[in-house]
């Protein structure tokens, strides 16, 4: 309970503070323009996607890269539609997960998320899922859900799971707003 409390406090205070700094650190100049997904969030999602999706993800190479880029772009749009308080919560959560002490605690490594080996990411996800701390279980469920949303939105995912796609074809309006 104590640890839950401390981590909870960290989420609110430090995460909130850091989330005010747009796209600190990890933002590389080649990163696509995003509406709502922070650079930190993107880095974490890139690290966990292969672990969560396993063999569903194409082997490393251009096909995998394309799935990741498409998924991240869709998730960015999806997050941009969430209510302000939820968007803030998402930003703060990612910012908290990127704090060095939190990274060390969760993955046992000093490395950035992008440099954390998949085994360490997997071990973190497994222990978060079965943790006695509610907040960590919630972090796992949240991260897993985002990966699922970003991946199963894509026709390449449909092929892999035997979903032939929508029965009524519509012009690909996708993320156009109105």
């Amino acid at each position: 309970m104590l640890r839950a409390g401390l981590l909870g406090t960290a989420t609110v205070s430090l995460g909130g503070f850091l989330a005010c700094e747009p796209d600190r650190a990890a933002g590389s100049s080649t990163r696509p323009q995003r509406v709502a997904l922070s650079a930190t969030g993107e880095e974490i999602l890139r690290a966990i996607c292969p672990v969560v999706l396993g063999g569903l993800l194409p082997a490393a190479g251009p096909a995998r890269q394309s799935v990741l880029e498409t998924g991240l772009a869709s998730l960015d749009q999806y997050i941009a539609y969430l209510s302000s308080p939820l968007q803030r919560e998402v930003r703060e959560l990612f910012a908290t997960l990127d704090l060095l002490p939190v990274r060390v605690l969760l993955t046992g490594r000093f490395a950035r998320w992008s440099d954390t080996p998949p085994e360490a990411v997997e071990s973190f996800l497994h222990s978060a899922r079965s943790s006695r701390i509610f907040l960590l279980r919630r972090v796992y469920a949240f991260l897993q859900s985002l990966v699922v949303l970003g991946f199963f939105d894509q026709p390449i995912a449909w092929e892999r799971v035997g979903y032939p796609g929508p029965l009524i074809a519509r012009p690909d309006t996708q993320w156009g707003t109105r």
Binding site: V51, V52, G54, L56, L82, F152, D153, A157, L167, T173
Partner: protein, 537 residues
């Protein structure tokens, strides 16, 4: 549609002021029905909607963008601790635009509980029957006779076990069984508010403002004086700075559970007994995932067409948590959302999708002392959030329903059954499932729970001490305020709620129209006398 009066908050170049006989906040099951009835009574109605005006032609049968655009918080509106999500529509037509069309009359045990235990009068089955009949006719509600393989499997299991089950009445017309109800019906078959009551109201001179968030109700004495709305950007997230103000002698709040009490809390309306936002119910949904030997293609065909109420009242109305059962079928994201595994486990689950059979148990809440429901609160920024603690009463319903759903799925021929909990695994026999489920740790959010049926928070009560509104939907303290939506129910229902909301909305809007007519006649009387006096003298 060109001569209909529709404003889009996003594109307003200046503040908008409107006047009406009745202003309605929300265009879902409550607001939509009320708008049609009041418009047909000759009243000028103004409707405010936070979502956008997406129509059948816009619905793209693609999950992620549809969830983002048509649902509140992308369909994942979290409770305050994030333990589970509430699924609510946020588009013209509200949740009726994205629901799965299951329309049940309010069960008699529920109405009996309201009358006998809560003292609510005028809501007996015979009182409501004409209103159910009226809305069933209006929305073409009739039992669905061609269930898809996913629903057939549930019927097969229930039949084999000797359970009570039946065909679900659906509000559809010329439905071609596509299965995309949750993403907005792309062919306009679903008789949602979007294609029925709202266009009817607009054709009778109602005005609709989309992409506007009702921020506050201004009030003075015992009357609402003004609705203050904030125009929203193209995603419906951030205010643009333009304001929408509506003045009307009558105000109907129909923003649904969570947002209706949220609006009233934000407006600091009188709440002398501290009832506002309390007793919010979710009829929590938990899920069981099976793999059948045959291909079911659960992503196609009416997603929900078979129900069983075998266990809804299993221990009496006020006993242990009962639950109704329904089949669940949907496209990949919605289906995979129930499964929180990863790696090879996730891959195996995903690859079995065409053979997937999913059942949902909806655990009714609010009928027992240990089932007080949740409480709507305001965040610092004024937005509404539901606090819903999970307790032993709920977990008992979860465990019992996991067992029952596994029984049904094995009876239907399942190869494996797996409760939708990341602490569970796949079981190959009923005996194995029983043994594992009886000792399964039940904890959030590993047990996947959500709710598409948030209800309550502005509960009906016989008097001001027991309810926010009376059974006509009239607010107990503010005389020109009504609440007409799912937030008025004093418990959950034990069934999918749409028809209960339609019917009560029809009754209460009809009563309101008569009340307004009476007021007008007496006002006209006074007016005549005032002007007649000089002539007489």
């Amino acid at each position: 549609m060109s001569d209909r009066e529709v404003y889009v908050g996003t594109t307003l170049e200046q503040d908008l002021q409107l006047e009406a006989d009745v202003a309605i906040v929300g265009t879902g099951a409550g607001g939509g029905v009320a708008a049609e009835i009041l418009s047909l009574a000759g009243l000028r109605v103004v409707l405010l909607e936070e979502g956008a005006y997406h129509t059948s032609e816009d619905f793209e049968s693609r999950e992620l963008p549809s969830f983002a655009k048509l649902y509140y918080d992308g369909g994942l509106r979290p409770t305050s601790d994030g333990g589970l999500g509430v699924v609510q529509g946020r588009t013209v037509g509200g949740s009726t635009t994205v629901n799965w069309t299951s329309c049940f009359r309010t069960p008699e045990p529920t109405l009996g509980f309201w009358q006998e235990t809560l003292g609510l009068q005028g809501l007996a089955p015979a009182d409501l029957e004409p209103w159910f009949e009226r809305m069933e006719a209006r929305l073409s509600i009739r039992p669905w006779e061609t269930p898809n393989p996913n629903n057939q499997a549930m019927a097969r299991g229930a039949e084999k076990l000797g359970w009570r089950y039946g065909a679900i009445p659906r509000n559809v017309l010329n439905c071609i069984n596509l299965g995309y109800c949750g993403l907005g019906c792309p062919v306009g078959s679903k008789q949602s508010m979007l294609v029925t009551t709202i266009p009817a109201a607009l054709d009778r001179g109602a005005a609709l403002v989309t992409r506007v968030r009702a921020d506050k109700l201004a009030w003075s004495g015992d009357r609402i004086t003004l609705i203050e709305g904030l125009a929203l950007d193209e995603r419906g997230v951030h205010p643009t700075g333009r304001r929408v103000r509506v003045q009307a002698p009558w105000v109907v709040v129909a923003a649904g559970a969570i947002n209706s009490p949220g609006l009233l809390l934000r407006s600091e309306v009188p709440d002398p007994h501290g009832l506002l936002g309390k007793r919010t119910f979710l009829q929590l949904h938990n899920y069981s995932l099976a793999v059948m030997p045959e291909r079911l293609d659960p992503f196609y065909g009416a997603p929900q067409s078979i129900y069983s109420d075998q266990f809804t009242w299993r221990d009496g109305v006020a006993g242990r948590a009962g639950f109704n059962l329904e089949a669940v079928g949907a496209q990949p994201i919605a289906s995979m959302n129930f499964f929180k595994g990863m790696g090879s486990d996730l891959e195996a689950c995903a690859r079995s999708l065409p053979h997937r059979h999913t059942l949902v148990a909806q655990i009714r809440d609010g009928f027992h002392a240990e089932s007080p429901g949740g409480c709507v609160q305001l965040r610092n920024d004024g937005s509404a959030v539901l606090d819903y603690p999970l307790n032993e009463y709920i977990w008992d319903g979860v465990r019992s329903s996991y067992l029952v759903m596994a029984e049904c799925q094995f009876a239907a021929g399942a190869n494996t059954v797996r409760p939708a909990s990341s602490d569970a695994s796949s079981y190959r026999s009923l005996a194995e499932a029983r043994s594992a489920i009886s000792s399964l740790p039940l904890r959030a959010p590993n047990v996947f729970l959500n709710s598409t049926h948030p209800l309550g928070g502005c509960a009906m009560g016989a008097d001001a001490r027991s309810g926010v509104v009376d059974t006509d939907g009239r607010h107990h303290q503010l005389e020109n305020l009504l609440v007409i939506d799912g937030s008025v129910f004093p418990t959950s229902l034990g069934v999918n709620p749409s028809l209960s909301i339609y019917a009560l909305a029809a009754r209460n809007a009809t009563t309101l129209a008569a009340t307004i007519d009476r007021h007008r006649r007496s006002d006209r009387g006074r007016f005549t006398i005032h002007h007649a006096l000089p002539e007489v003298s």
